[in-house]
Amino acid sequence: MKSIPCLRLLFFLSLAVSAFAGDRQVKIGFAQTGAESAWRTANTNSMKGEAAKRGFDLKFADGQGKQENQIRAIRSFVAQRVDVIVLAPIVETGWDPVLREARRAGIPVILTDRTIQTADESLYACFIGSDFYEEGRMAADWLARKVNGQGAIVELQGTPGSAPANERRRAFADAIAKHPGLKIIDSQSGDFRRAGGKEVMEAFLKKHGRAIRIVYAHNDDMALGAAQAIEEAGLKPGTDIILVSIDAIREAVQAVVDGRLNCTVECNPLFGPKVYDIIGPLIRKEPVPKKSYNKDELFDATNAAAVIAQREY
């Protein structure tokens, strides 16, 4: 454990050196949650790559899944007098004190990916994230067209209570309400896990048998697990049972190309351009929209093959 203070010292020294070396470059501090998934890695790479392209001086801090690391990172950003702080909050609560410190120093804070709960909305300048509701709606609309508004659906939910699971579930239910022929006959949580999707789908197949026409999964991992369960039950995923999911990880887009998955809606992690576009107006103290969303696309058999080569995650 002794090496950690030394490392921290080194970290600060290197930051101090770079602070003196910089000319009037725009300085941005980015407090990332960690590196817990391929999505997150793609998100980090987008932020770093786009900063390099635009000549910004990006100070990157990996929170390693802990809020206290992120708070410490924000404090060090304030001490270094960065121009803008970008925060991907790991949890929703407990940010008020450190954000107040940033405001006192006159540094605007952009939230990305996830939002926070606070009584004082003015503590952050704006939020840029993924529109989970829109993703669920896109999936439902695509499905309604594909099956002409007819069919029995089983739903594989994400982790109960998580924002993407809640929103994707609500949006899908709202959208299919317009089609009386589309009905969710069962819904269980696969916890966003591949093994979970497979296990739940196995149980659904035994319980409902051939009644299941459509699977709607809140993420690709569960859809891929479900596809495997369908294969093991002697059916063809994508043909006998239609699979729709969200995230568009590379493996899922490949599965769409192979015909094992019918459609996946993107949850785009490439936030770099969108976030940096807003930084200029922010520094010039121009008004910016409080909430904006990254644009998501939809991949099915018509366009998956064309984009598979450029998928970054």
Partner: protein
């Protein structure tokens, strides 16, 4: 008074759950033939439950020595990652499996060293690897989910031999060999002696530290095996999520199966029933259509029910109630 088997309550709970399911959905117990192998919910329970069963087998011995191993979930992730990396580099299946179990043995040795030789509290010692182990697994696969495209590897978890699912057969073989090794030799007695009173067992001439270390090594090996099955089941190594909360399921299976957390007594068959019980419970939630946000509640109720029935004090109290009624 006749001494009741400690297996009675978990077994009763298991049967009650099966009956409950059969009442709500008669197809629950139906087993059919599909493509020449057995197909049905009971088969699913066995296949899905086999991984927890294997982890719980190792956990039984560790708990019998008065310890606990929180690192098994992370070891599952490490073993899966080892499999993915080796198979991706084109190594053979045999080497891969040996390396994966070897990783488990290594992890178990580290735990054993800390607990038995250096005297660190088991809960703290294994907590270290629980946290660090997941990091190691992520490092191995570079934070990515690695797809494993190897038919023989997948066969281990999803294959059928003579129409019977292979994974439960492998786990059953592990149980039988563990039973023979522990109960047909004095080894089981040694484990119980160390768990009951380490000092007394040492004075009696037992190499207590070595027996404890062996228990952790065995537990690590079991977790390594479960890691292989976990990765093979989904044809992928998911270092971030594989084996998540598995230590809790395993400890539950052991305790429900009648092994005391204080050590000194273990029941291998009880652990197997406990593991099947927890898997059946999960499947029951799917079968009855219990909303996922509510599902933990009935689970908790059943667990506390079984635990209460096993407690001597509650049974004595219940018997007292019954006795008073008879007297009146």
């Amino acid at each position: 008074m006749k001494v009741r088997s400690p297996l009675l309550w978990p077994l009763a709970g298991f049967v009650a759950l099966l009956l409950l399911n059969a009442v709500f959905n008669p197809a629950f117990l139906k087993i059919t033939l599909l493509d020449g192998h057995l197909y049905g919910v009971p088969v699913d329970i066995l296949v899905q439950g086999s991984r927890t069963m294997l982890v719980a087998l190792g956990m039984t011995l560790v708990i019998a020595t008065g310890g606990i191993d929180l690192s098994v979930g992370s070891v599952v992730a490490i073993a899966g990652a080892v499999c993915a990396v080796l198979l991706q580099d084109g190594h053979g299946l045999a080497l891969t499996l040996v390396a994966a179990v070897g990783a488990g043995v290594l992890a178990g040795s580290a735990n054993g060293l800390l607990v038995a030789r250096l005297g660190v509290q088991p809960i703290v010692a294994t907590l270290i690897l629980m946290v660090a182990g997941r990091g190691v697994a992520q490092l191995l696969v570079d934070g990515q989910v690695i797809i494993i495209a190897s038919a023989p590897f997948e066969f281990l978890a999803n294959g059928f031999v003579l129409g019977l699912p292979l994974a439960p057969l492998l786990v059953a073989a592990a149980y039988v060999s563990a039973h023979l090794l522990l109960r047909r030799t004095a080894l089981g007695l040694f484990v119980e002696a160390v768990g009951d009173n380490e000092q007394a067992s040492r004075f009696a001439g037992l190499a207590a530290a070595r027996i404890k270390t062996l228990a952790y090594v065995f537990c690590g090996a079991c977790a390594g095996g479960a890691g292989i099955l976990t990765a093979a089941n989904i044809r992928a190594a998911d270092a971030y999520r594989a084996g998540e909360n598995m230590e809790l399921d395993a400890i539950f299976a052991v305790v429900v199966g009648g092994t005391a957390l204080t050590g000194g007594r273990f029941l291998i068959l009880g652990t197997a029933i406990g593991a099947l019980l927890i898997q059946t419970l999960t499947t029951t939630m799917y079968n009855l259509g219990v909303p996922p946000a509510v599902a933990p509640v009935p689970k908790a109720l059943l667990i506390i029910g079984v635990a209460l029935l096993q407690s001597e004090r509650t049974t004595r109290w219940l018997r007292g109630l019954a006795g008073r009624k008879e007297a009146a």
